[in-house]
Structures are given as structure tokens and as C-alpha cells.
Symmetry: C2
Subunit: 294 residues, 2 copies
């Protein structure tokens, strides 16, 4: 099997050119990779095509042409379709091809992809990311990788183009499980951040001055430093969409239940975000949770 | 009224020489202040007395001798007694004396102390801290101050000996309210940290490797970086006691209710910490919340 995934030796395929995927694919192109792309909405590929990427009419075509295919999709059902569907990646990739799913998706699905890939002599990795649109734009993502260790090692040249913190977490599914840990930690903390700000306002304090006292200490967090100032300004635009966060929490809750973990805080956060969805906030940023406390 | 609170000009009284208070009083002594101390258990003052502090037999004696009295006590009922009780500070302090309560206590009580102090021409500040035993030892506390602005300004020479982040938050009670914001943010985040770690373990991941992926990103927090490693090592010794955190959450919940804020996450955290208390963990560190998820 070929394992030279250097820019000189390899063609990378990229499926899913949204806010995250578009930036990530651009970095691969600038790193010198030959890049084949597919996206449901072709217009989102325009900029990459101008820069030298090659268009493919289907996931199947990407699979046939690339040495490594990266997928960055919206929901697990999209991943399922692109990998297992008719004209999907598993059926059309040449033996030895790397299939790297960077979507935040279900650990269970990652294991199924890995098994089917093995059967077909393909090399599947689950490699979800954190760092958001800014991390993708600046190539500073944290990438959490599950799969066979030798495949992780072989794929490092590609992954390191997009991220600064690439960590092998274990067998297939371990990347997705790690991302779930990430989302679980965020979910409860978002309640804390929003409740602290709502309390500050109702107590008649100046929330910005409160942040000066508390953001640098034991109450400090990425969300308090980065999202609380947006909340204070009334900026609820998406860094990370409510609808995607709810999807992630649902995966985490399903897995938690399967493993007998009673994740009280996660459940409560999911309930509050569910109400937010019902109020039409699905396309707001996750900091819109604050509206539940106003 | 005298307002020279420089080490050359002022005698400071200190009541409450526990883990926090002992360190804080030591810094005042080393900064050159004449220091009068009182503590329920006299033995805790021994080290300070060796270093030159002077012993007082009662809070009343401290009040009569000091230009500024600092209190660092356990619970609001202790504050109430030391300020309002027979032989208390309010009754015995000379006009112009500063009364600075650095206990985490109720905003309501801070307002009552301030009113009574005003009536007696005393100058009360509420100035709770964050930063824990380490912050106290290293004189790097965050100090959140409520009261009259001119009193805050006058007291700065003293406060800056103990903290690096001294911020005026507003009228009497504002310091305590700010500390409540701090504790509210921590409360929910502790659930997120513990649930993320419990999930990691049950999913068969290596929790330390998971931290490498998630601690530096959007899930990052002081608790994840500082308490999660202790949890992983099975170290539940107190940096901050469960029993004190529960006291703080009770004050915050009471205030939240009064202002019509439904602090869902805080309520849930209080419930889980309540179970922990029932299981005899009141003298463990707050990271012992993890045991609720094992």
C-alpha cells in the first residue's frame, strides 16, 4: 500500500466545503497538495477551483482519484450516506486509500466505517476537530484521531497542515469519543457562563467589570473569555451553531446512556438548548443560551 | 478621618487566621504593617506572633486598636457575630476605622454592615477573594470590592499587599455579588469537567491523553487544567472545601431567587454537591464531585 502522503506524492480529496471545510481545504492546496473537491452546493467550491483545485461530480469520483479523502460534513446521516450510500466512498475507493472523517459524528458510525474499510483494504480514521471557524482559518485546529496507529502516523503530514494539536486517541471511534468529552465539558460550562452573566446584570453589576475580576481565576474558561464578551455586546451570531451543538449533545447523550453514565449536567444543557431551538435560535451561536436566562 | 493606610501610618487588625487568613496576614506583616490579630483558636496565631504580630483577646480589642480591621471567616453567621454581636466590631471600632470583610458572605449582610457602619462613622468594604490557598500564599488573589469608592481607594495600599487583581465593583454588596458570579460559573463547569472525565474513562480512553486534545481549546477552563489532573490521580484533597462551596452556592441560590433568576445549572450542581455532603465528603476538595459519576 502507498503511504507517502506528502504534498509531492499525494492527491487529497475533500468533501464538504462549508465554513470549516473550505478553510481546511485551502490550507492543503497552499501546502502543495493536488486537491480534488466535491460539495453538494458547487458554488462553495468556486474560490478553491480558482486557486487550482479540481472539481469532481460525485463522492465516487473523489474516491477514485484521491490517495486520501477527507470528509467534513454536517450530520452523521450525511457521513453515513457519503461512506455507505450508492456511489459512496467505501465502494469506490482504491485499496490503500485513506478515508479521514473530520465531521463530529457518532463513535459507533466511526467503528462501522473502520470495519467496512478494513474489509475492503481501505484505511479509515475518525479525526474530528475543535477550534471552530477561527481555528480552521488559521490552521490551528485541535485534531483528535481514532483508528489504526500506523494509519494515523501515515496521515500526519496531511493532518498537520490543518491543525497544531494532532493527538492519537486510540482505536476507531476514539477520536469521536474524545470530541464528545470536549462537547460535554462545554455544555455545562455554557450554563455557568450564562448564569453568571445573568446574575451580574440582575444584581446591578457591570458585567465587563465582573469579567475583570473573575475571568483570570478559578472561574475562568475559554467560553467566559471568548463568548461572555459577545453576550454582553448582544452578539449572538454563530461561531458555532446551536443546531450543530444540539446534534453533538444528542450523540454524547446516546453514548453516555449506552455506557451507563448519568450525565446530569449534559442532560440539563440539552433541555435548555432544546428550548432555544423551539424558539427559532437554531442558527444562532451557542452563546444564545443566555436568552434562556433573560 | 484618617485615611493614611500605608505601612508606616496604620495598624491593621486581622480576625480569622485559617489557611487563607494566615497567609494574608503574614503578607501584611512583611509589608511593614503593625498587625493585631485575633482567632478563635489561638494556636493558629503562633507563627504570626513569633514574626511580630500582637495578640488581642477579642474582636473588640482588635477593633479598638486597629485603623483597619480585616475579617476572613468561615460562614455568614460568623461574620454576623463578629460584626454585630456583643463585643463586636461595629460597637467597638473608633470612628473612621475601616472594616473590610474578605469572607465570602451574603451580599445582603454586606449591605447591613455598611449601613450600620455609616451610622457609626465607620468605613465598611466587602472584599471577597478568589485564588484559593495558593493565591493567598503567593499574594496573587483576585479581590472584588464593594462599598464607597473613596474607601476603596483609601484601602488600596492594604488590599494590594494581598492581591494582584483588585477591582472596584460598586456599592456595598457588589464585591459579594461578584464573588457569587465567580462561584456560579464554577458550579456548572465542575459538572462538565467531571462528566467529561467520567465519559472518557467509560469510553476506554486515556483521560490524560484526552486532556491533551481538549484542555487548550473551547472546552478549556481553569478547572479542567487544574482539577481534572487531580481527579485522574485520585487526589480529592481540598484546595477548596466542598462544605464552603455548598455555603457559597446556597447564598447564590438565595440571591438568584430573590432577583427572579432561574439558575438551572447552579441548582443542579447544588443538588449533586448536597449528595456528596450526605456521603461524608464535606471536607474533600470540590473536585470530589467526580465521585457522583463513578
Amino acid at each position: 500500500m502507498r503511504t507517502d502522503l506528502s504534498p509531492e506524492g499525494a492527491t487529497v480529496g475533500f468533501i464538504g466545503l462549508g465554513v470549516m471545510g473550505g478553510s481546511m481545504a485551502g490550507h492543503l492546496l497552499r501546502a502543495g497538495y493536488r486537491l480534488c473537491v466535491y460539495n453538494r452546493t458547487k458554488a462553495k467550491a468556486d474560490k478553491l477551483l480558482e486557486q487550482g483545485a479540481e472539481w469532481c461530480d460525485s463522492p465516487a469520483e473523489v474516491a477514485r482519484r484521491a490517495d486520501a479523502v477527507i470528509t467534513m460534513l454536517g450530520f452523521p446521516r450525511d457521513v453515513e450516506e457519503v461512506y455507505f450510500g450508492p456511489g459512496g466512498l467505501l465502494e469506490n475507493a482504491r485499496p490503500g486509500t485513506f478515508l479521514i472523517d473530520m465531521t463530529t459524528s457518532s463513535p459507533d458510525l466511526a467503528v462501522r466505517i473502520h470495519e467496512e474499510a478494513k474489509r475492503r483494504r481501505l484505511r479509515a480514521l475518525d479525526a474530528p476537530v475543535s477550534g471552530g471557524d477561527v481555528g480552521a482559518r488559521e490552521a490551528k485546529l485541535s485534531i483528535m484521531v481514532g483508528g489504526d496507529f500506523e494509519d494515523y502516523e501515515a496521515a500526519l503530514p496531511i493532518l498537520r497542515v490543518m491543525g497544531t494539536n494532532v493527538v492519537y486517541q486510540g482505536a476507531a471511534g476514539a477520536g469521536q469519543h474524545t470530541k464528545m468529552c470536549n462537547q460535554i465539558a462545554i455544555a455545562s460550562n455554557m450554563m455557568g457562563v450564562c448564569e453568571a452573566l445573568a446574575y451580574a446584570r440582575k444584581a446591578g453589576l457591570d458585567p465587563e467589570t465582573v469579567l475583570k475580576s473573575i475571568a483570570g481565576g478559578a472561574a475562568g474558561s475559554w467560553s467566559l473569555s471568548n463568548l461572555a464578551p459577545r453576550i454582553i455586546r448582544g452578539d449572538f451570531s454563530p461561531g458555532f451553531y446551536v443546531k450543530h451543538f444540539v446534534k453533538d449533545m444528542d450523540i454524547a447523550l446516546q453514548e453516555a446512556e449506552r455506557m451507563g453514565l448519568d450525565a446530569h449536567g449534559l442532560k440539563l444543557a440539552r433541555t435548555l438548548y432544546g428550548r432555544l431551538m423551539e424558539q427559532g435560535e437554531e442558527n444562532s451561536g451557542t452563546q444564545a443560551l443566555y436568552k434562556q436566562y433573560e
